[in-house]
């Protein structure tokens, strides 16, 4: 059991490290790459948590398509190095950091006190996260949301084209 814990711990470290990296990197491209790294670690986690189909989806859709899109955007807009501090509302940065730390403290306190052990993950049945199972559920109970999101995607695509037309 401890090996799982160890793996998870390592993955968590990577993810958090990459996230912080994205946060503080001056160069936007590095930020994008750090985010990709976070997504990949999450994909691995999904695998551990018995969601293989999701993990692959994560890698292909999220890391693959969306992050590539970001890279395009970055390349179009040209990498600029913006000064971290300054700008019209300088006061906003320290306040934001302060509040975020406060939030962090509260979350930690919450975990310590409130959230009882949710029980360990029981063993994944065979084919728990398999595409068949997900497909069956998706097209039965969640058919309406599925259709709605497909329309959403169509609208988004058309919107993107229209917006960027000269």
């Amino acid at each position: 059991m401890s090996t799982n814990l160890l793996v998870l711990f390592v993955l968590a470290l990577i993810a958090v490290g990459a996230a912080l990296g994205m946060l503080f990197s001056r160069n936007v491209v590095y930020a994008v790459l750090f985010l990709v790294l976070v997504m990949l670690t999450l994909a691995v986690l999904y695998l551990i948590l018995g969601a293989p189909f999701l993990a692959l989806a994560q890698v292909t859709v999220y890391a693959g398509a969306i992050m590539v899109l970001f890279l395009f955007a970055v390349m179009i807009l040209g990498p600029q190095k913006l000064p971290a501090a300054g700008g019209p509302i300088g006061w906003q940065r320290p306040v934001a950091l302060g509040l975020t730390l406060l939030f962090l403290v509260e979350v930690v306190a919450a975990f310590a006190a409130k959230v009882g052990a949710l029980g360990t993950l029981n063993g994944a049945q065979a084919g728990f996260g398999s595409p068949a199972a997900i497909g069956r559920l998706l097209f039965n109970r969640y058919l309406l949301p599925f259709e709605a999101t497909s329309v959403l995607l169509l609208v988004a695509a058309v919107g993107a084209v229209v917006l960027t037309k000269e």
């Binding site: 996230a19 969601a51 979350v107 949710l118």
Partner: protein, 100 residues
């Protein structure tokens, strides 16, 4: 297996980093990526709970989050590009004319 608390803690930390990114950075793209990070943190929590309760609904939710995120990024970046075309800068603070 792995206790869900840890997973939730991870998701929370990632979420907070995402929030910090949105509030602190002035580059519009980085703010976008921070939002993506927050979404992913949420997805992680979904999957953790799906595994904990053995119900696939969590994973379905993640699917929908992904599609929404994709749509959002497409439109968002399109807007960013048009703004960039006029403003020549990605700094979010230049866009402050719509005020009370």
């Amino acid at each position: 297996m792995v206790p869900t608390n840890y997973l939730l803690a991870l998701s929370a930390v990632l979420f907070i980093i995402g929030v910090a990114g949105v509030l602190v950075r002035r580059n519009a793209l980085v703010i976008y990526m921070a939002i993506e990070l927050m979404l992913n943190a949420a997805n992680l929590a979904f999957v953790a709970f799906a595994a904990a309760f053995g119900a696939l609904d969590g994973q379905i939710a993640v699917f929908f989050v992904m599609t929404v995120a994709a749509a959002e990024v497409a439109v968002g970046l399109a807007i960013l590009v048009t703004i960039f075309r006029t403003r020549k800068s990605v700094d979010i603070d230049t866009l402050h004319r719509l005020k009370g």
